[in-house]
């Protein structure tokens, strides 16, 4: 396994574990909590910030942060692959990775996210 595969699989592993851990903490915390939080459904990064800065902290904020972490992980993996390709001197695949990341960001913009 070369650097590209090693780094990319590591980013996928860390992102997956982090995302799921945050979701589990959020959902368990929310289930154990009797007091109503800041929001029943968090639908933006801004609302995650509000939920986590609220006192007491709304555990659903952690769950939503975990969901976002899961979604960002593939994008982070591609960006990491691009860096690894650069260090290996593979300029063609640096360009390919950059095109994929740019197109993904463009699609997010089209989606109004």
């Amino acid at each position: 396994m070369n650097r590209v595969e090693r780094w990319t699989s590591r980013v996928l592993l860390v992102g997956g574990v982090l995302g799921v851990a945050l979701m589990v903490v959020g959902v368990l915390g929310s289930a154990l909590r009797t007091e109503r939080g800041t929001a029943d459904s968090i639908v933006s990064v801004h609302q995650i910030g509000i939920a986590l800065s609220h006192r007491p902290i709304d555990p659903l904020g952690f769950a939503a942060l975990g969901i976002v972490a899961l979604f960002v992980t593939p994008l982070a993996a591609v960006a990491t692959a691009g860096v690894a390709f650069y260090l290996e001197g593979d300029r063609r695949f640096v360009a390919v990775s950059a095109v994929v990341v740019a197109t993904l960001l463009l699609s997010l913009w089209f989606g109004g996210a």
Partner: protein, 282 residues
């Protein structure tokens, strides 16, 4: 149903979806959406939100392991992702312009044809000596993996890359236009057009589906369709299932994977044709 039983049942279903997704290169939504809506009373939007979580979790859980084992080819995945993500943007821009039913009929027909092709090469284990392709050579779209069932290293290289990229673009258009995952099309494009071993096709598809799904995930999240109470057990179950699936795939023959894959595309073809005719299958 008590909340504990509800979560446990979703967790078990998602584990099965994760195993199937990791072996077949699909997101698992094909299994999850009908089960969540029919047996758990989750509304369609909530089920589709859970499905997108399932696609990404399958991809993360399976692709990491497949990259380590050499089954997933990151160069082929990224090269084809350019076509798929571009297609998804075009598809999203065509929403409301192209009649969806006509498209569903065309794609259903294409899938039915692909099913016939898959049937013809059902017993083909590893494609032998495919013709050289200039694009594949320039971008190094080749690789090798150790096949435990054959007890040898299998070397492969992609061919007919342009056709594969066009098929991937079509898969992307489908994703953007209809809001569905297109893992089946990705696997077919790599298996049929590019003559990659079936296991490499499903493993590389696993890497790609996460990339394309992350583009649409933000939209689902922003609409409030992803509910943590459902998404959390789905993600945990699918990640665990995907890990189990990666262990299983290494012990399966390419022909076995193709035999498991065939009924799935037959079902998808039928579902798409019926959808185009205005009849919705579960």
């Amino acid at each position: 149903m008590s909340p504990l039983l509800f979560v446990t049942a979703i967790l078990l279903t998602s584990t099965v979806a994760g195993v199937a997704g990791a072996i077949l290169g699909l997101g698992g939504g094909i299994l999850l959406v009908p089960v969540l809506t029919m047996f758990f009373g989750v509304d369609l939007r909530g089920a589709m939100g859970a499905s997108i979580v399932s696609v990404i979790a399958t991809s993360i859980g399976a692709a990491g392991a497949y990259l380590r084992s050499g089954l997933s080819n990151i160069r082929i995945g990224l090269f084809l992702a350019m076509a798929t993500v571009s297609g998804a943007i075009v598809g999203a821009a065509l929403v409301g312009v192209v009649p969806e039913r006509a498209l569903e009929l065309i794609l259903g027909g294409a899938l039915a044809y692909s099913a016939l092709v898959t049937l013809r090469q059902l017993n083909l284990d590893v494609p032998e000596d495919p013709p050289y392709d200039a694009l594949a050579l320039r971008f190094g779209l080749e690789g090798a993996y150790y096949d435990a069932t054959l007890d040898r290293e299998v070397k492969y290289r992609a061919t007919r890359v342009r056709r594969g990229a066009v098929a991937m673009f079509g898969a992307g258009v489908l994703s953007g236009l209809l809001g569905i995952g297109s893992g089946a099309f990705k696997v077919l494009a790599m298996d049929y057009f590019m003559r990659l071993p079936m296991k490499v096709s499903t493993a590389t598809s696993n890497f790609m589906i996460g990339i394309t799904a992350s583009a649409s995930a933000a939209i689902f999240f922003g609409r409030g369709d992803i509910r943590p109470v459902i998404a959390c057990p789905v993600a945990v179950g699918v990640l665990g299932g995907a890990y189990l699936g990666t262990r299983l795939l290494s012990r399966l023959r390419n022909t076995t994977v193709r035999k498991i894959f065939l009924p799935v595309i037959v079902y998808l073809a039928a579902a798409m044709v019926f959808c185009g005719l205005g009849v919705h299958l579960p």
